[in-house]
Amino acid sequence: MEWVNAVVQGILLGGVFALFATGLSLAFGIMRLANLAHGTLALLAAFIAYSIVDATGVNPLVALVAVVPIMFVVGYVLERGLLNFTLGSDPLPAILVTFGLAVVIENLLLEHYSADARGLDAGSIESASIHVTDDIAIGWFPLMTLAVAVGVLAILYMLFAHTRAGRAFRAISDDRETGRLMGINERHYYALAMGIALATVAIAGVFLGIRTTFSPADGNSQLLFGFEAVIIGGLGSLWGTLAGGIILGVAQTVGAEFEPGWSVLTGHLVFLAVLALRPNGLFGKPVPA
């Protein structure tokens, strides 16, 4: 029965990874940008929430009302002011710039907040759970995280499929120059896309901060998990990202059943297996190079 519980917990954990990976997937899908600063930016959001909570005493979930718009603006300005200039057929400048950015942000956070682990306290919801059976308990908060992940993906799906902006995103993702000929200001739309990506990262960061303690150096591992979720699920598929997150989550929790210190490693090994056997991921569409 512990195995079933491990799988259930893994599915719930997958919600966290999926939430993380969504922004990564979005940026890559629209701009072919692999944002190496993605994890650190999630930590930035968590720390902004921390400061807000510290100053005002509100529940971190309430602080989201401020953190999400802040991170949206950060994303828009970052893309328009810096990252737009790195886009092009050569992926190198974007990799270098986002990596440098990750280092700069992480160390700025370290300077300001120190390396101490912090937490965001969301109150009783953190420990409340539903007892399905004697062995299986579903925590309210993890369930909420998964629900939010699914909700965010659903909203994004509708945005892409049914709105003028969504069509514009898909158009410039297919063919940037022709998009321009249609009157789409691609610099603005790339910035919007990054804004949306960081808005989702804000949610992911705050939920992570509630779930566990966090410190500035955690950005890298979050980046790797998010990336693994995207690859396992397959590039170019938003729902694939959800599936990838869940598979990664289950891999980690089941791995922990074998040996407590092995959870992360098991996740990595599953990722490598997918990479070796099905490099396009489980639901991936081949992405034009």
């Binding site: 069509r167 297919d174 321009r180 000929l181 789409i184």
Partner: protein, 233 residues
């Protein structure tokens, strides 16, 4: 009354390579104008300077009295210039209808909408939900023209509509052009197929190796003069 579109002394470069040498062109509103010439003569290049995707190294482009150099391509759509690009360049992952809707991203007011496009080009109607990647060449070309119309342009630029298409298909597409001109749209058609171009145009300009080699009305130009201007012999 000044022309809707005026190009004066246009030089254009691709890196070190000069493609246009002092080209001038004047197009009156409501006219259909043909731009002919051999491969590499500079016709598409000229269209790109009008559409805004290539910046001329010298010369002026004036549209409805306002200078265009420095105005970005996406803004020119809002001013009333739309380009049907060489090679169609539909968005492959979008359906035909979605491609049309993207064409309306920055639309001006006017008669063209999805229903209107389907009326003009009925072959598109059954294809409305098909992804553009799965269309034939002729279907793609029709969709590309329709997509450009959705912006309700004052000036519609068509780049090599006949390229890679069977003559019967080309005839069918060209049959739709008078319908567009009837709404008052000005057309500049770049073509290698001289016959079709001369049949619809009121004015012809021929380019040879980046320079204007001939201008005139189709009725006034002899076959011999056109051939000389086209091939440069």
């Amino acid at each position: 009354m000044s022309a809707l579109l005026e190009l004066d002394g246009i030089d254009a470069h691709y890196g070190q390579l000069q493609a246009l040498f002092g080209v001038g062109l004047a197009v009156e509103e409501g006219e259909t104008v043909a731009l002919i010439g051999a491969n590499g003569a500079g016709k598409s290049t000229l269209l790109h300077t009008i559409a805004g995707t290539l910046r001329p190294s010298r010369g002026t482009v004036t549209f409805a009295g306002s200078p265009l150099v420095g105005v970005r391509a996406d803004r020119r759509v809002g001013l009333g210039i739309a380009l049907v690009p060489e090679g169609r360049r539909l968005f492959p992952s979008l359906t035909v209808e979605e491609n049309l809707l993207v064409g309306a991203h920055r639309r001006r007011s006017g008669p063209w909408n999805v229903a209107g496009v389907f009326d003009l080009l009925p072959l598109l109607h059954p294809l409305r939900d098909r992804r553009a990647a799965y269309l034939s060449g002729g279907e793609q070309q029709a969709a590309a023209i329709g997509r450009a119309l959705m912006a309700n342009p004052r000036l519609l630029l068509l780049d090599e509509v006949s390229l890679g298409l069977a003559p019967a298909v080309v005839k069918h597409l060209y049959a739709a052009l008078p319908g567009i001109a009837a709404e008052g749209t000005t057309l500049v058609i770049v073509e290698q197929d001289i016959g079709q171009a001369l049949a619809v145009a009121q004015h012809v300009t021929c380019l040879l190796e980046g320079r204007v080699s001939l201008r005139g009305r189709p009725g006034e130009l002899t076959h011999e003069r056109i051939t000389t201007a086209y091939f440069g012999m």
